[in-house]
Amino acid sequence: MKFGGTSVATAERWQTIGKLAASRRAEGVRVLVVVSALAGVTDALKALSAEMDGGKRKHAAAAIAERHHALAIDMGIELPARVAERLESLAHLAADGPAAGQELAWQAQVQAHGELLSSAMGAAFLSAQHLPTTWVDSRDCLKAVALPNQNERTRLLSAMVEATPDAALQARLAGQGEVFIAQGFIARDDAERTVLLGRGGSDTSAAYFGALLKAARVEIWTDVAGMFSANPRQVPGARLLKRLDYLEAQEIASTGAKVLHPRCLSPLREPRVPLLIKDTNRPELDGTEIGPHLREAVTSVKAISTRKGITLVSMESVGMWQQVGFLSDVFNQFTKHGLSVDLIGSAETNVTVSLDPTENLLDSDAVAALAADLAKVCRVKVIAPCAAVTLVGRGMRSMLHELSSVLAEFGQLRVHLISQSSNNLNLTFVVDEDVVDELLPRLHELLLRSGSLRSDDDVQFGPTWQALYGRGEAQMVPGWWRGERQRLMNLAAERSPRYVYHLPTILERARSLKTLDAVDQCYYAVKANTHPQILKALAAEGLGLESVSPGELQAIDQAVPADTPRLFTPNFARREDYVTALATSASVTLDALHPIEQWGEVFAGHAIMLRVDLGRGLGHHEKVRTGGSSSKFGLPIEHLGRFIECAERHNVRIKGLHAHLGSGILDAAHWGEVYGQLAALADRIGSVEILNIGGGLGVPSHPGEQPLDMIELNRVLSEVKATYPQYKLWMEPGRYLVAESGVLLSRVTQLKAKGEVRYLGTDAGMHNLIRPALYDAWHEIVNLSRLDDAGTTLYQVVGPICESGDVLGNDRRLPETHEGDVMLIAQAGAYGAVMASHYNLRDAADEIVIE
């Protein structure tokens, strides 16, 4: 069991160590505790050993002694004799300073005191707590080996130990007791000198001991439960990784995760000793177990990580790469300029390598000098700033087909280099750095959705970081329909398929929008659901209504009072449509040059809104992204000047700017960006009073997705508003208001087994709900007739339409299902009934609103 610096700094924390060690002892095994120095002491010793002034060194040693005296008082014990001895020897070392030529050895000796002291404190304290603990000098157990590529400095301060199971040591310790405590970070070399293990030293010591003693397991106790499927700071929905094999864990540790130093895994591999990462503060949580595990593994991507600040050097030369020595000459140039190469990609005429960010890279002209030298022998191109995105999982090559949605995401980006190691553990894409902050959460989500990260497999994956350490799994609010089961069963018995909308849920969403006090007016985008009762209810809540066609304008007129604010935002609409809309009270939005250039007179004397394309698109699927040049929406910024000229010519006033980047966005910062960019543009137009930042407020659909944080969104918007108070702020949410209110009820028609695949047919299909087929949208599907039964079978849930794409849900774990069972498809309130068709001449589902 290994404990770090903060875990050994107070008596209270030592009590935790005592409890944990005693609980392991109670399992009938012998326990060896490996500890770091008290938090801060290693740094203090480092500073001491770099200090030239003997007086200051003595002063520093005295301060360290004081820390340990204070801890002894905190522990309620006498200062142990072994600690007193060590403090005395430290005082001597500090006073004397290094002998000539012995600086490094002296430094190692000084720094070793931190662990020697903390372990001696611990041995005394644990023994006093009725857990007799034997103090072991790690240097008597861990023997450093000299390696050919080491110099004196690395031999002394960054040593390696060859740790193979040592029966003699096992027997020696077995004769000495049941509970032991030893030092991390230190070892002894052939010349009987004290040496240090360098970075990640204490974890590595624990691993060495685990291997030497062929331990049942090594436990690393730290401040987090283990490794996660992505950096939780960027992806709060990242899952705890419960089981990894050594190489996977090493790969994840090397490409991003900070919880474990990658170096400490290799000693354990050969003797097959498992390593467990645990949270000291919450020992009840599962941790990450790293072991051999190969046989039982289900193929899955385990983690995704990113590293930023990468510079690529691409070298092009025809036919030179095969010449003997050419490649080595080229690589010598990198050595010469002090740059170290990480990834390599090669082709017949090109070799591209990546450089990790270092001070040398950023602040000197190393790259310029390297490029100058390389340019003598090949064409060289420096590509930066880049980021490496790495997927880790055993058997990556066999998962490529499942990664299609992930690969499609990369298809929209500039991918500079792809690297796939021969050990088949990783797949790395090097892309432009500016995309990764948004990319990482999206890729994590796509990995979950595509089933290539098998979060449903609870052997491999634990809870989300959010659930463990965040503000809780807010997503897990049960759908309203769970409380209305009987009513829904009755409705389904009358007729199916049918849509049911829950009005209280819509009103709740409308009220949560009102908490955005930075927003002056919200418009409900009626295309999501045009049911008249819903329009009435939202208008009564003070929302305006946004429409995209004369038909929608008419539906609004029929449903709501004349004074409800209206907005008309069509795309590639006919000239007549604008004429119609201008005759109403609606604000009309233009999103292209064509109308104002070709039919400017139509708009003469009117004030219009202008939808611009800020050049970027976001959203949960390519087809719902509405920004960027591959999207048909919005006026490109470069046409703004021409638009303004036309508007002036026809006496058309641009009263507002609008941008809408996509749908299903769950990141609050995004609207702040849109808002800020629109405001800066508006400042340059002059006549603008209103900024409409669109909708796209995401609705979490998957387990593990975080709902949009409305408080954070309001904070972001308010910040921009303080800078641009002169503009009114509009938003136009659609799906956000109605998605969760609606369910689609259907009944099971037939069941079928084909090979290993089980099909569950329902009378609802893609003619009723096309989102799964059109957007790969994920809707929760439950068997309402058997709601309380456990899911036992994986079903493909399909509809009756003669189309192979008529699939409502893939691989859904459901109870054994029978003909006539009522199936409920959740979150169907938006873009459900409104997108229905009569394909196959099947009837539409009817729609019912319940209070």
Binding site: L362, D363, D365, D434, G676, E689, Q726
Partner: protein, 450 residues
Amino acid sequence: MTALTDPRDAQVFHFVRHSYANGVAELVYAFDGGPELIERIRFPDAPALPAERQAAFEAALRLLHLVAGVSYYKAGATTQIQVDDGEPDTATAELLDALYQHGLAEFGYRNGLEMHERVRFPRHEETIDAAPALGLPQRTLVPIGGGKDSLVAVESLKRIGAEATAVWVGNSPLIAACAERTGLPRLNIGRELSPLLFELNRLGAYNGHIPVTAVNSAILAVAAVLYGFDSITFANERSASAATLEYEGRQVNHQWSKGFTFEHTLHHYLHQRVAADLHYCSLLRPYSELAITRAFARLGNDYGDVFSSCNRNFRILGPRPADRWCGQCPKCHFVFLALAPFMPKPRLLSIFGRNLLDDETQAAGFDALMEYEDHKPFECVGEGAEARAAMATLAQRPEWAEDALVKRFARDIAPQLSGQNLDLAPWLQASPHHLVPPRLVAALDIVGGE
């Protein structure tokens, strides 16, 4: 009170009155007999005004009223102007005529208005005694804009040990962050435009670019007298004096109030009419954009993650480069190109978060900078020849030469420039023209240093 009407139909623009009390200056304007348009300037923690500075303060405040009126005047661009609280003397009227005619030239071009025919301030002959020296404290107001130029000015003042205060007008998190990073004392002056101006816009007011540097300069002149500073050092560079295009035979300069002519006029006006020891100048005037980007590469190391010269993302602060640099506007293009010859490539790319010169979709933007097949954009950017010299330099650098737009320059554009001098060196020479007071001249050398 009468209702607001379309100011384009108005006959007369009135400078109604101005006042100051408790740290707030009120500047009042109106079209014809319409509602009063009231602008307020807030001077935080304003000290009591010493009696000996009273006259200077009134002169500066009066100038501010007349200069800041440009934001309102332009809504109607009337052919008649009246100053209700007393006609200016000839010298003041001439300053204002020049400011309104040249400073609104681009506005006029955009709106099809001939400003030289419209603007004529009323005036009367009067002999006014030269203002005395007030013994203002030897300290400097240095305006911060959030971009590289003002940061170069700040760093050069810091390096000569001059006492300076970072000052900015208006609410901007980005500028506030830059100001904080300077480590200097800070002064944030508030400016509230009349809300009725937005109503006028709705009624169809003319709109466009105004000479905002002139307004800020007048605000700082008032601040200098109020708080006690003997100098105001802007960071306007040499190329700000160049015209951006010609219209009806006249030069149109997008940034006229950043030019040397205006600096010269205001410099002497303040000496003559406000205080003989209040010095208005630009610390960067002798230098080209390239000399300044070189100085920034050397002096601006601390600001990489806070500054932005981008006009689109200009006032929003965010942790990522894309929050500060849109990467698509002429300012982003120019600053990127002009810093490239002087900064290690990885560092420049880490500031912008991307490589604009390796993005083929940006070709048109860089062409405009180089005045290649297009004229110069209406933005505060350097001269076309500077952009060409920077690009030509990069074409010689192996770490840049293969980037898409540098390669394109070498292949398609450079051959058409034969005979032109594309060296950087001439751009790094200082010109002798500046109005920097002797106390601060050493800062000029810091800017121009190797």
